[in-house]
Symmetry: C2
Subunit: 476 residues, 2 copies
């Protein structure tokens, strides 16, 4: 536990962005490469993504969706078919212009998202109301040519799933949009212990080509917001651009109503910034690649290692358990697995064996507990659940403490001058106010929450009649 073992990372309160960069690197989540803006996701980081993917994929399938795989490349002419969409994405796509030695007749963009590919395919396979709904999902990589990048939060390439569905009616599409937002919220809150605010994006902030966009927004430790998942009701915009029609039960040709929704590796950044501390990562048990790390004490002494390995085998039936039996010092190991955010450390040495006990240390609180071997499996399971709940509650408390209300523009600006967080304030619905606020304060509208209970009658900016309650924040 001595200070000499502590890997040097910047303190959160001193320099939060630097703390983040230190943690992702020192916890072995990512490495950099000579590919600007891209990251190497290392085994520990990728195991996190696999756990998230596996939980989300199960829910996507349980809600009736099927996985497919679309091409990586999109011909320029195809991308241009839906006007708002191309306007939104053209500035940030990568273009392939040569194949082998040959220049291509038409440029191909590397998919930034796949609405247009699904659009073309849906036109081919949807004919009748019997073909609806079509509920597809894709797990893939996408590329957006970002100028400034940070691991997980904003990278040239990222991994995600993108759902794309077609429905007979507007109501069904809306229902689907909300259903998938709820799935995302469930993954955030129950798997990642990240509380979210659910709501609708303003016109200004919605997805390029969508009729409306729903979002879940979470609050990081530094009081900045992070958009954690979005679900779009596309209406019939793409259907009209691509000619996706079906014959309804009365024999009439109709355009389908579509949705799309995405969840990305970005959420790992949120997990880090919501739960981490000055000793490194803190990973919620449900998503942790390793939930319990066994550190043998005085392992050179007879019987200790055998005992530790037996424990590992026994506990592996109820949790993801690993052991570090390397010849490094226990203090080094303590520090390493604290940096990596393993929820529980289990120490066992000769004296513990004699007394029929082990020591359990919680990563989140630092609490150490001498624990009898009897019913240890059950103790571990219960402790993991307790840690999970405790992390969620702590994050929710932090968010609530950093959620403010502003009634005047002066109050609004003052809050963001003095601190960071969500600010709830009323809005007239006019884009000019949104733009003014952004220009004055760098604050953006995060969402109009599902729970729209008004807190005042006038817009916080222009004082005209308010239409919506809005969560405002500076955002990643």
């Amino acid at each position: 536990m001595g200070k000499q073992f502590v890997k040097e990372i910047t303190s959160m309160n001193e320099d939060f962005p630097q703390w983040y960069t230190d943690v992702v690197k020192k916890a072995d989540l990512v490495d950099y490469s000579s590919v600007r803006g891209s990251m190497i996701i290392r085994p520990y980081g990728y195991a996190l993504w696999e756990n998230i993917k596996s939980a989300l994929d199960q829910k996507i399938k349980e809600t009736g969706h099927e996985n497919v795989y679309m091409p990586l490349f999109i011909p320029e002419s195809l991308l241009q078919k839906e006007k708002d969409h191309i306007e939104g994405f053209a500035p940030e796509v990568a273009w392939v212009t040569h194949g082998g030695e040959d220049e291509l007749a038409e440029r191909l963009c590397v998919r930034p998202t796949s609405e247009v590919l699904f659009g073309e395919h849906y036109k081919n396979i949807i004919h009748s109301y019997r073909d609806l709904p079509k509920l597809y999902n894709q797990w893939s990589n996408v590329v957006r040519w970002e100028k400034t990048t940070r691991p997980f939060l904003r990278t040239l390439e990222f991994l995600w799933q993108e759902g794309h569905t077609c429905h007979a009616t507007d109501e069904e599409a809306l229902e689907e949009t909300v259903k998938m937002l709820e799935v995302y919220a469930d993954i955030c809150e129950n798997l990642l212990a990240i509380p979210v605010v659910k709501g609708k994006k303003t016109e200004k902030e919605k997805f390029a080509g969508a009729k409306l966009t729903y979002t879940i927004e979470s609050l990081m430790h530094d009081g900045k917001a992070l958009q954690s998942g979005t679900s779009h009701h596309l209406g019939d915009g793409f259907a009209k651009a691509f000619g996706i029609q079906f014959t309804d039960q009365d024999g009439k040709e109709q355009y389908v109503q579509q949705t799309s929704w995405g969840f990305t590796t970005r959420i790992i950044g949120a997990m880090i910034m919501v739960h981490g501390d000055d000793r490194g990562l803190v990973i919620p048990p449900k998503v942790a690649p390793k939930q319990v790390m066994i550190v043998p004490i005085a392992q050179h002494k007879g019987g200790v290692l055998d005992f530790a390995y037996d424990l590992k085998e026994k506990l592996s039936k109820v949790a993801r358990v690993d052991i570090d039996a390397s010849d490094k010092k226990p203090g080094w190991k303590f520090n390493e697995y604290e940096m990596k955010g393993v929820p529980i450390r289990l120490e066992v040495g000769p004296k513990d064996i004699e007394k029929g006990q082990v020591v359990l240390a919680r990563r989140d609180t630092g609490e150490k507990m001498v624990t009898p071997l009897e019913n240890l499996e059950e103790t571990i399971v219960q402790l993991l659940e307790k840690v999970q709940t405790s992390l969620y509650n702590k994050a929710k408390e932090h968010r609530n403490e950093h959620t403010y209300e502003a009634y005047t523009y002066e109050e609004f600006k003052q809050i963001f001058n003095e601190k960071q967080g969500f600010v709830k304030a009323m809005w007239c619905g006019n884009q000019a106010c949104e733009e003014k606020i952004k220009e004055d304060t760098s604050v953006t509208s995060r969402c109009m929450p599902f729970d729209e209970t008004a807190i005042a009658k006038a817009c916080v900016c222009c004082k005209e009649e308010a239409q919506h309650l809005v969560y405002w924040a500076k955002a990643y």
Copy 2:
């Protein structure tokens, strides 16, 4: 079932390539898009890939490997670091030259494989013998700019896993190379019921940049061979190009010894061409997305549908079972699930219910069996196992029947004039003979099998002293 229901597909013996194209389309495995040479993998095709991926991923993890994710793009200068490698891949990569509106200072290629990215990363993270072995794997998409393409078999973009490992010694790297080839062989033979020949590639056919390449080769229904998985011993070529060194136990700097190995969506093409027939796909039970399809007969009659759904629930505990309760005719359904290669069809109608029985129909043999409801779960499990074994045996028999031996060049040419298959023949080891054979007959060396028992003393081509037994074939 009546001819009127049969979807029209070309007969295998009439035009095998057209049969293949018909099957992948009519069985809903793929669709085409406006992206030349790329395919859309539809839900039924992707479910196959998910089953293969899941089984292979488990074996990759069981053998101690960890999954990571590398960038999609490779800067041109990085790709050029290993000379043989760039020579092999330069003619077939896609080049990104623009990001958004800007021309890039350096072109990026879309990864055709990731040796150079792993090389750069390994240089960063390997320092001491304690860091070895490093056993990494990646699941990803790759792009190779092929001129002529066919779904699954050869596409611009495909999905795969690529393993990349570093070892302290040549022996360890060789052991790893063979171990992973055995894993691939196991997946082919036991999951996909495809018998394989294991062996070593000749210098001419080995991977660009490898010291040696191992391969598994399988034989399609039309007698052409398909390379089904390769595992490369890279030696220290990449290590020297990238400077991947470690301090050994004696304090000396050494270059690591590397391997790489890959298995792709191509194998789905092999599965189709090994097991399929004139009614469509035949999918081995272990990899089948749906193992049993329940088709209710006279489903409008009271109780039939309830009974069928109860059966589905009961059987779902032991197999992947689905039911088609749509209002389409049973004959249409029979044809549809035969086209899709579902291993067992279960028919149940009012008379069956009365008699406490169902009818089971095997896709592979067409055999229909009246089967008592009693112990139906066990019957189904056993029948699925029987079908799996039977498909493997049939494929092996077909391969053996189409494996010939040639002792003279006249015999060799005559065999390939009259029929297709593997031809075992001796080879002097001289590349000139390999090239002559390819020029004369379009036949390539598939591998020098692990079991190298000589069948003659002279090279089949030049009659000089033979060095190796070789499996020759025309190949996909």
